[in-house]
Symmetry: C2
Subunit: 415 residues, 2 copies
Amino acid sequence: MNPLEKPSHRISKRALSETARFGGTQKGGICRLALSKEDKQVRDWLSREGEKLLCTVSIDSMGNQFLRYPGLDDSLPPLVMGSHLDTQPTGGKYDGIYGVLAGLAVIRALRANECKTRHAIEVVNWTNEEGARFSPAMISSGVFSGVFDQQAAYKICDRNNVSIKDALEETGYLGPIPCGQHPVRAYFELHIEQGPVLENEKKTIGVVTGVQGMRRYIISIRGQAAHAGTTPMALRCDAMLTAAHLTVLATDIARKHGDEAKATVGEITALPGSSNVVCGDVTMTLDLRHPDDEIVESMEAAFYQQAASVSEMTKTQMQIERTWNSPSVQFDEECVSLVRNCAEEMQLTHRDIISGAGHDAAYLARICPTAMIFIPCRDGLSHNEAEHAEPEDIVAGANLLLETILKADACFDLT
Amino acid sequence: MNPLEKPSHRISKRALSETARFGGTQKGGICRLALSKEDKQVRDWLSREGEKLLCTVSIDSMGNQFLRYPGLDDSLPPLVMGSHLDTQPTGGKYDGIYGVLAGLAVIRALRANECKTRHAIEVVNWTNEEGARFSPAMISSGVFSGVFDQQAAYKICDRNNVSIKDALEETGYLGPIPCGQHPVRAYFELHIEQGPVLENEKKTIGVVTGVQGMRRYIISIRGQAAHAGTTPMALRCDAMLTAAHLTVLATDIARKHGDEAKATVGEITALPGSSNVVCGDVTMTLDLRHPDDEIVESMEAAFYQQAASVSEMTKTQMQIERTWNSPSVQFDEECVSLVRNCAEEMQLTHRDIISGAGHDAAYLARICPTAMIFIPCRDGLSHNEAEHAEPEDIVAGANLLLETILKADACFDLT
């Protein structure tokens, strides 16, 4: 018998009914910006749920919420599960909250089965993971992990000039515990994949081994606006054509760097923007990613070199500005093995996977053993009101989280 | 002696001082929308200039203005020179008005030299050539030539819902002569090139042999918006990449169809437009041109066929809608020869050229022998406040127009 089957079954229902009302949109998604009224409502709900499960609830100075199921040995630091409750303005029902609700279900199952663990088991809700209200994303796990300075983070304001500190105070989530002083033995984050790989390969579980390296650029191309009817092709300095060649080039470079390399041109603005005028100015973005930082470096070098030739060929001037550089993260081998072995034992179809998106776990990995578990999401769609995960995958992920926590509890810190 | 040297020298001064005040912009350009207060001012000015030169001034039912220098034989239809006085919102000092002012200078020279011509010589100002206030462009020469219906044209409104008919009445330019009943023996239009060919080849005169064929398209590409970090290249349906391939494809097709073929992607809108999201939707324009309609047809066919392969390769859906089809125009061989021979005799450097842009002459060519003369403009720049033509080219063009008119007058209609 799997003693936890029933409790984890309830996760999808909770996600879809109980918590989805906090910021629920007409299209079935969620708008729950960090430290908004709706975010406060779901936080309050989470605390009440924790208290119902006889957990100790604590809040730190960045508003991170910890629900603690006590262990047999209070001298051991806790095993922590979690993610975030905030969403994008037109976010879905699963991103973030699934990891928190699964953690809650794990504690509920432990409680229902009167299961005693050596370590305390905790659920955490990290403040402002999305970065949709306060930029950058993952601010609070970043402060927790020493990546960001708390005083600087406090001063970050939303579009209405409300600072994080003001929002924390206003919602009552400016907690007394200094952010980062909460001990963590290991951190496990369960999340929807936000990509199509698992669905495409019909795997239930992604054993996340790390987060890929990411670099982002703004490319400015200056050509010469000219009459489309009177300017011979040979005399043009066409910024649009340059942009087109660069987009194809970036794609080719990614393809030459293997299946895990990605290059994306997501934004373009072309001026003057008239059907009978050759474009004089284009601004476009480029996003390069690969799990191996050396390959990201190689992609960047190839792009810089070949882009210069493109710009020379099209007689346009080009500037490439690197606006973001996030090195890759390798998760803890032992934690990743635990996840993989548990999935194997539970006969869940699985594959190792690299996270293409950022997550709180990427910062936690800097200060404690960390791993992540992915489940599939429909059409790889995320940050979208139509975001969907299948109930059986939701249950499988939560059950795997439970097994992983139990294995970690059993094998960690044996003296 | 060239008896007309002095009068035509005055054209550039007039263009830059007398008329440029009607709608003059701070950046040295002109904003003189059709039938605006400024357009009325310059029209009134033109009528007064005509009257000073003892011309008969008449206005037709589309507001087209004719200034008539009478001929010796009133039974002969007039030789007409002209262009338009309206401009783009940030237009230049030369586009259109140069052809009208040169016509005025020709009459002034004839008058100053007491030169009698067999034909009456007329200057015309066509209403709303630019199409900047009332769309489409060249409405009134179009009605004059039977391309557009006058009643339909009257109902066309600007953005403030003012109809052409209302604007004609309000400015006092709803004339009594039915548009199109004014006879024209031949029409000669002098214009800046609006392209870089003459400047690039250091030629003073372009002998315009026709107007190229033009087709315009809106291309809609639907892919699948997806996370730039989590979606492998192989699983993407990237509308931006499709657009890039199509832009390169259109350029390649134009280049394969010879020096006179042109393909332009001038506008692009890419959604959702985020640096870390693969584009789901792109709308872009395509403009194809060539002097030979068969080649335009061949370019279109090649594009349709190869674009389908691109869209299949990128797993996106594509719709191509042809929004405009303007067949090429061949100007009258005799009129073109007159221009070429006069340029040769006057020892002006010249070359035959096809107009890449539309002009009133393209419609006039349907109903009477027509030719155009181009002079260079700096950097091929037009529809721009920085538009510039050199004084010596301005004079050369006007002198060539005079010589051509005199030759036409001498050789046409000899019974």
